[in-house]
Symmetry: C2
Subunit: 335 residues, 2 copies
Amino acid sequence: MATPTIRDVAREAAVSVASASRALNGHSNVTDKTRKRVIEAAARLSYVPHSGARSLTMRHTGTIGVVLPDLFGEFFSEIIRGIDRAAHQRGLQLLLANMHGSPEETASAIRAMRGRVDGLLVMSPNVDCDFLAANLPGGLPTVMLNGHIDGIGHGSLSIDNYAAAQAMVGHLVDRGYRRIAHIAGPIGNSDAEERLRGFRHAMTELLGDANPLVFPGDFSEDAGREAGRSIAADPQAVDAVFAANDVMAVGCMSALEEAGVAVPARIAVSGFDDIPIARYVTPSLTTMRVRIAELGTQAFETLAEILANPHGAARPPLTLMPELVVRQSTMAAPA
Amino acid sequence: MATPTIRDVAREAAVSVASASRALNGHSNVTDKTRKRVIEAAARLSYVPHSGARSLTMRHTGTIGVVLPDLFGEFFSEIIRGIDRAAHQRGLQLLLANMHGSPEETASAIRAMRGRVDGLLVMSPNVDCDFLAANLPGGLPTVMLNGHIDGIGHGSLSIDNYAAAQAMVGHLVDRGYRRIAHIAGPIGNSDAEERLRGFRHAMTELLGDANPLVFPGDFSEDAGREAGRSIAADPQAVDAVFAANDVMAVGCMSALEEAGVAVPARIAVSGFDDIPIARYVTPSLTTMRVRIAELGTQAFETLAEILANPHGAARPPLTLMPELVVRQSTMAAPA
DNA sequence: CTGAAAGCGCTTACAG
DNA sequence: CTGAAAGCGCTTACAG
């Protein structure tokens, strides 16, 4: 009644455990007759090998661990799509974990990966580096999905948030907008902070505005909505909004609409990421396209190369440059 | 240089492996002094326990396997959200796998779970039951996410697709629509087939139309777009479209718009699922809300109960009834 | 080609 | 309280 093990199969086929193992794994040093007997016995017992034991012996697991801030939502869903595509192609399984926002949980998620995966993909935009370094199992190849951090990981990818934010401000200025406000991402989040820095820099450079309006935010739709309400309360102060991600941009647009402020006729709105929803909202959203899935794929490929060639040279950090996608939400010139 | 094991910790602390294990796991039968020495040694070596070995010994893994048709996209992303929420609350990890559309890959994904997880959540809307049954590791508690199948799994959830499809047709008829077409889901997909069956039944019952127009589809946006183009070619033939899921409804709407057919003024469109995007599109989409995340949560809870009480009575299948959500896409009465 | 044995990294009765 | 030993389910040199 209990789940059958390879011993049960061996007994059923009247061979040794060693032969059963060899037959099941398709080794050549086994007679056809033995192989047949073993395979039939396994089928009879509905034997499924215990992957845990198998990987303990073989010292590799055939699975890759992925630690992300979240496992769902438009952005992370796209990352997973990209990782999954690459993993599937190489025949590897995925063990996904969520950090649930706390450093302790991030650490425990990462620690739980030890012995279950051959390598790790980690995106941890707001966890302290030293803390992270202390909890990464030594010897486990790791690729960081959010920028290079000295001494952490064996490879890294990053988005050029700083340049991209400047490009977005450049676009808005080209369109004639002058009173541009920013909705910031979470404090302590490196992506968000770079976007803010790029925004400030471009505002100073292009418009001589060293102290532009910045609303606090946390990448959530509600935060965008809240900022939108503040902006609607004094619509003269602002003629364009650049949100640090698309989700907040969408929230902001919906608050502006509710308050009767036309987008883009009275206020333009733009975002960052190009999540799938960006082209469905009305007006469709101008944004910086990150090619999110590709970020996942590339990170995976980097890891796969490290796994295939563990003693190769260190990978240089890869930087992806987002691309401006102009849609309707920034199409009207301001009054 | 190699990853340290508990033997290294024991040696470093000058105690036996047994004591090291006890100290690390917080057992009480260890002196404070020993515990302190062990913990310090572990920290010095950056020791992280090998979860694979640990679960082999302890005969449980603290993780739940999840096998879904896909790991990304609006629908599955919501399921994962729901599962993750529940898993987190109970302190369990998630091992996710994708079936990549083929029965062979589904089987191998499921088999790979053996020995890595304590239980399984499987949503397999278009894989043959016998095949599935043959590949489910015996003894591994399994909850099916798409309907009860005799002899498979130890619990199941399902959506009342049949009744829900009828409810949607009822809504369209109430609004005055008469020439209602359906965009079907993939052949062999049980959810899709039930929705089609419900559609046909309601069309016959409510309108005496025993042979309504049905376009083929596969749940993809492209399929919806294709159907939309066909409909736009002869817009008199149809005054409302009921798509078997939201993604196809969205595709259909965009094709209709492109062809200059106003939605809902000339043709109404409705979907199924209530994915997050449904309320963002313009016009916003009337649909049957599935509470997708809740489906995941409930499935997880069912499994958790089975795990906590393995010899309890069999769980009765749970059926969720979707709820009609009326939005703008069906708001105009037909001409 | 086949089998007995060691070992992967842990935990836990069993003695002491 | 502590340690030596067995065992979780596999695979793979090592002999034969």
